[in-house]
Symmetry: C2
Subunit: 194 residues, 2 copies
C-alpha cells in the first residue's frame, strides 16, 4: 500500500532520465546526482524507488525490453503464414527502432556491455518466444533454413541494431526504401533457397 502511494510519475521521470543520460554519456558518466537533477527530484528520492544505482539500471532495462517486445508482437497472430508473420514482426521491430530510437539505443548499449547484471539480462530474453516459435514452424514447412535460433537472430534481427546506431551517429539517413532493402536482406539470409 505504502509503495503504491508513491507517485508513479517520479519513477517514470527517473527511468526516462536514466535512459537519456546513459545514451548520451554512457553509464560511466551518469552519476545519480545528474539523474536526480534531470528528473527534478532530490538524489535521496531515488532511493525511495530503487535500491541502488544497479537496481535502477536493471529495472530500466527490463522495462524497456518489455516495451520493445510488446511492440514487436502486438499485431502478430499465430495463424498467420510464416512469411507474413515474419514480415510483420520484422517491420514492427524496425518501426520500434526508428520511432523509439532512444529506447532501442539504450537496449543496444546494455546488450553489449557488462552494465546489466546477469539475472536482468536473462529476464529480458524471455519475451522473444513467439519469434522462435515462428521460426520453428518455418523450419518444419521447409521455408526457413534449419539453423540455430542464435544464427537466425544474428542475421534476421540484429542487423537492425547496427543500422539504427549508425544512423543515430549521423553516418547516414535511413529511409523507407532502406527499410525495404534491409527486410529483403534479412529474409534472403534465412529463407531456404528454392
Amino acid at each position: 500500500m505504502a509503495k503504491l502511494q508513491k507517485s508513479i510519475d517520479k519513477r517514470n521521470a527517473l527511468v526516462k532520465a536514466t535512459i537519456e543520460l546513459v545514451n548520451n554519456n554512457g553509464f560511466h558518466a551518469t552519476p545519480m546526482s545528474k539523474i536526480a537533477k534531470m528528473a527534478k527530484v532530490s538524489p535521496a528520492t531515488i532511493y525511495l524507488y530503487f535500491e541502488n544505482k544497479q537496481d535502477l539500471v536493471n529495472q530500466t532495462y527490463i522495462e524497456v525490453k518489455a516495451e520493445y517486445t510488446n511492440y514487436a508482437f502486438a499485431t502478430y497472430e499465430e495463424n498467420m503464414s510464416v512469411e507474413d508473420g515474419f514480415e510483420l514482426i520484422w517491420k514492427r521491430i524496425a518501426d520500434f527502432k526508428l520511432k523509439e530510437c532512444e529506447h532501442a539505443m539504450f537496449l543496444a548499449q546494455c546488450d553489449n556491455t557488462p552494465m546489466i547484471d546477469e539475472p536482468s539480462r536473462i529476464e529480458g530474453i524471455k519475451h522473444l518466444q513467439p519469434l522462435l516459435d515462428l521460426w520453428q514452424r518455418g523450419k518444419k514447412e521447409g521455408l526457413v533454413k534449419p539453423l540455430s535460433d542464435f544464427i537466425l537472430y544474428a542475421y534476421a534481427i540484429n542487423p537492425l541494431s547496427f543500422l539504427m546506431i549508425t544512423q543515430k551517429r549521423g553516418a547516414f539517413q535511413l529511409n523507407e526504401s532502406h527499410i525495404e532493402e534491409a527486410y529483403q536482406a534479412a529474409w534472403d539470409s534465412i529463407k531456404v533457397n528454392k
Copy 2:
C-alpha cells in the same frame, strides 16, 4: 628520443590490462588503480605513456581496430574474384573474432557505447576500404545487391559480432559448421538472386 626509451613492454601490458578489465567489468568499473595493478606498474606510471584515462582507452581502441583489419585483409589480393575475395575476408574476420575473442569483444563494447571519443571512432573506420572496394566491384558485376555499404556491412559482417558475444556469454557453442552456415547466410543476404 626520450619517449622511445620508455619500455614498450609496459605500454603493452597497460593496453592488455585495459582490454581485459573493460571486457570483464565495463569501462565504468575499471579504475586506473586496477589497470596499474594488473599491468604490475604504479598508477603514476600510466601517465608517462598516456595523457589520461580517455587517452588510454582511445589508443587501445585504435590499436585493436588496426590489428583487426590487418588480420582481415592480410591474405586478400585485389585480383581475386568477388566471390572468392568476399569469402576470404569474411572467414578471416570470423577467424579473428573466434581466436582473438577478447580483442573483438573489446571492439564491440567500444562500438556500442559513448566510451570512445568521436575522432578515435572515425580513425578506426578508415581501414575497411578494401572491403568496400570489393563490394563496389561486386555491384558493377551484378553479383552484389546495389545497397549502401552500411546495409551490406550490417548483414554481411556485423552478425558475427552478435554471434561472438552470445558465444562468450555461454549461451551456445560456435563450431566449424556454424561458421559455414553463417557464411552462407551472409552471402545469401547480399548476393543478387539469379
